[in-house]
């Protein structure tokens, strides 16, 4: 199949970027989307041009490093799918595809399609953990956790930190990412001791970064490759209000 690509090219953080047009011919529909970009880069390099820089690593949908806006949709047209798991069979011959970075106020473009997502690390660093040192743990079975509870904690813990939620949000909010970690920790007995402090610190850090506010459009859930539910955000708000109340006392 043949494809026309419009790809965001930007030399560095401070340069102005623009969409460049490329055409690829004779592509195998079983090729993955990133393999299609590999093919383009192979051609660019041998023609003495600079390849398109894009983030990727595991190419099996779990590391969270890949991610681009494909025709305006984070990670492209398939639901619950990262960019690396997308294949050309999801497109039609002669399609024109627009590829842009996950840009947002908090995610500055580093080069072409690569963005800086280190704000996510700082949010986790502010409280997204259980304060336990190596060697302090009691036996794993001391506290039983029901099957259902473990499963729903897992649903929140499954976030891969790709940033699709931020990129797709009209406000550039990191509410879903932050809420997923808060919920994961709040559901499990191990996370209960610090739940008030955790939610206050993480929300504070989130506000300190350049993320916008959540206005409940729920676009984040729609484009989340892990299908993280917006109910996590509801729980974050609940935990936050509760923590504010108890902190006053």
């Amino acid at each position: 199949m043949d494809l026309h690509l419009k790809i965001w090219r930007q030399k560095d953080r401070n340069a102005a970027g623009k969409l460049e047009t490329y055409t690829l011919t004779d592509l195998n529909p079983h090729m993955s989307f990133l393999e299609m970009l590999d093919t383009l880069n192979e051609q660019l390099i041998t023609h003495g041009e600079e390849p398109v820089e894009f983030d990727h690593d595991c190419r099996e949908g779990i590391c969270g490093q890949c991610g681009m806006m494909i025709n305006g949709i984070a990670h492209g047209p398939l639901k619950h799918t990262t960019t690396c798991q997308l294949h050309l069979r999801s497109f039609k011959d002669k399609d024109t595809i627009t590829i842009e970075p996950f840009r947002s106020a908090a995610f500055q473009v580093k080069k072409d399609l690569k963005v800086d997502r280190s704000a996510f690390d700082r949010i986790i660093s502010s409280g997204g953990f259980v304060s336990i040192n190596t060697g302090q743990a009691p036996d794993a079975t001391v506290i039983p956790i029901s099957h259902e509870l473990a499963e729903s904690a897992f649903d929140s813990a499954a976030c891969i930190g790709c940033g699709a939620c931020v990129a797709t949000c009209k406000n550039g909010s990191a509410a879903l990412f932050t809420a997923a970690k808060i919920t994961h920790m709040a559901l499990l007995p191990q996370g209960k001791e610090e739940r008030n402090q955790r939610v206050l610190s993480m929300v504070k850090q989130m506000d300190k970064e350049s993320f916008g506010h959540c206005s409940n459009t729920e676009a984040c859930e729609v484009e989340c490759p892990q299908g993280i539910s917006v109910l996590n955000i509801a729980r974050m708000n609940f935990e936050y209000n509760k923590a504010l109340f108890f902190n006053k006392k």
């Binding site: 560095d12 079983h30 090729m31 993955s32 393999e35 590999d38 390099i45 041998t46 003495g48 041009e49 600079e50 390849p51 690593d57 595991c58 190419r59 099996e60 949908g61 779990i62 590391c63 969270g64 490093q65 294949h87 580093k110 080069k111 690569k114 800086d116 280190s118 996510f120 690390d121 986790i124 660093s125 997204g128 953990f129 259980v130 304060s131 336990i132 040192n133 190596t134 060697g135 302090q136 743990a137 009691p138 036996d139 794993a140 079975t141 039983p144 956790i145 029901s146 099957h147 473990a150 904690a153 897992f154 813990a157 499954a158 891969i160 930190g161 920790m185 499990l188 191990q190 996370g191």
Partner: protein, 638 residues
Amino acid sequence: MILNSKIPEGPLDEKWTRYKKTAKLVNPANRKKLDVIVIGTGLAGSSIAASLGEMGYQVKSFCFQDSPRRAHSVAAQGGVNAAKNYKNDGDSVYRMFVDTLKGGDFRAREANVYRMAECSLNLIDQAVAQGVPFGREYGGYLNNRSFGGVQVSRTFYARGQTGQQLLLGAYQALMRQVGKGTVELFARHEMLDIVVIDGKTRGVIVRNLDTGEIERHAAHTVILATGGYGKIYYLSTLAMGCNGSAIWRAHKKGALMASPSWIQIHPTSLPQSGDYQSKLTLMSESLRNDGRIWVPLKQDESREPNAIPEEERDYYLERRYPAFGNLAPRDISSRAAKERIDAGFGIGPLKNAVYLDFAKAIREQGKQKIQEKYGNLFDMYEKITGYDAYKEPMMISPSAHFSMGGLWVDYELMTSLPGLFALGEANFADHGANRLGANSLLQASVDGYFIAPYTIANYLANEIHTGKISTDHIEFDRAEEQVRKQIEMFLNIKGSKTVDYFHKTLGKLLYDYCGLARNEKGLRYAIGEIKKLKQEFFKEVIVSGGANTLNTELEKAGRVADYFEIGELMCYDALTRNESCGAHFREEYQTADGEALRNDAEYQFISAWSWKGENEEPELIREPLTFEEIQPTVRSYK
């Protein structure tokens, strides 16, 4: 050179306790005067950086990914082993030790293997306390599944994302220390050289991958937790960025490499479908709990799998290995698949795959049960292939996966370079010639959480009087100059072939001649071809872009340049080992029915290799293996 493995005296089950009792300590006031560098933030790297930070050392943590949470431990699917015996099915530390030693074909140290099994108990406790949501039974207790090469259920899991959840636990512990200021994080930094001063490891040269800046960092010890080099085959289950450069550059500075040719080819990955392909996605071994592997009895079968009647199918693992069936260990399962495929029974468009069939399990347990256990794997299969594995069998094929080989380390996980430690997959230590499923997450974690914190303190206890180490030393100048020269050289070649072209060509060579099966003639041929390819690379490669900017091609060029040398050493290693053991199958040494033929009389040793310089043959140093607890037997899964 005589290698000292530093195995403690005493009975096997007391060695580690004895070591811990007598290891030297560093008092809390002195710890903040000691600097530690950790390269890599997978399970081993994150856990050791967090643990040392908690103890009060000054830690710098480096990774090439854009966040430590993306290190490749994240991709492990099926589970992590621990001898908890929660299933009451006869498991114990001793049983796990025996399984692992036998699984590795008696090519690992007894003491290391026993210690890994022993520490497995604490790991599950630690992970649960961090909030890792392991699978639970309805009563609230932890659930287990089985993995290959064992007859008990000792594998703990978090759906098909166990690696992700364990890594997030370690990553969060790491980020907690970053918040406290005990660990300084350097994401998007790649280590390009080790700095050795007066025989001791004193620092590293790294490149900031976003700006191209070359930086110097000094420390009292350097820990490499940089994972495996299976990506050398290009097509593998590994992430695109996985590489062997950190351990290789350490090797060229004096650290020995052990058993480099022992690379596990995983039996259940998705088959190659075209030459554009960049990666072979793994389908977790846990699928073999319920999936049955088969090929048609007829060569060049053209019917759809569901149209082939039961009596015209060959469930070859069940046929050849009735005691373990579909849960035969990885090396054996991969070789059995290759045997059928080579004999013309392969399936799929390229005839390079076998079926993994869930029809029986779905019939017996219902679709919902199977969905609960493996739902995300079936979804992933459908996303990649477009086929629904609930309706027709998966097509799978062997693919390069895990390097048992790596930097030689002693019992303390220290390499032959004083002050340089290697943890997790980067070292060679615990898996012998074949790793059992779900032991990789385990080894990386116990190295980082429970072993290295003791052994590194033991080393650092002698460093409290050293004082701050300066990066102005001439050895830092030399190392940095070397790194800069290499970068300039890559950019100035301006040839016509891409880095990926060379990587793919090398990968194919190694897969054909130093992969699932090897022989003397093929290995000698491969060594010659690799030398030629390397020469061509330095004449013909094209690396676009500049040095002082974000430049992925430049990063890849450095890694592939190292792969040529690693590949060559792999071939030498395979060539000198005139026996078959574990993943190392020399066609000249097999039994009449095609099983591996080990030679304990002559090859019961670890091969440690010393770098002798460009275009020189490497030197082999033998570390004999002695078995006191159990005597090596012929490894049978029949």
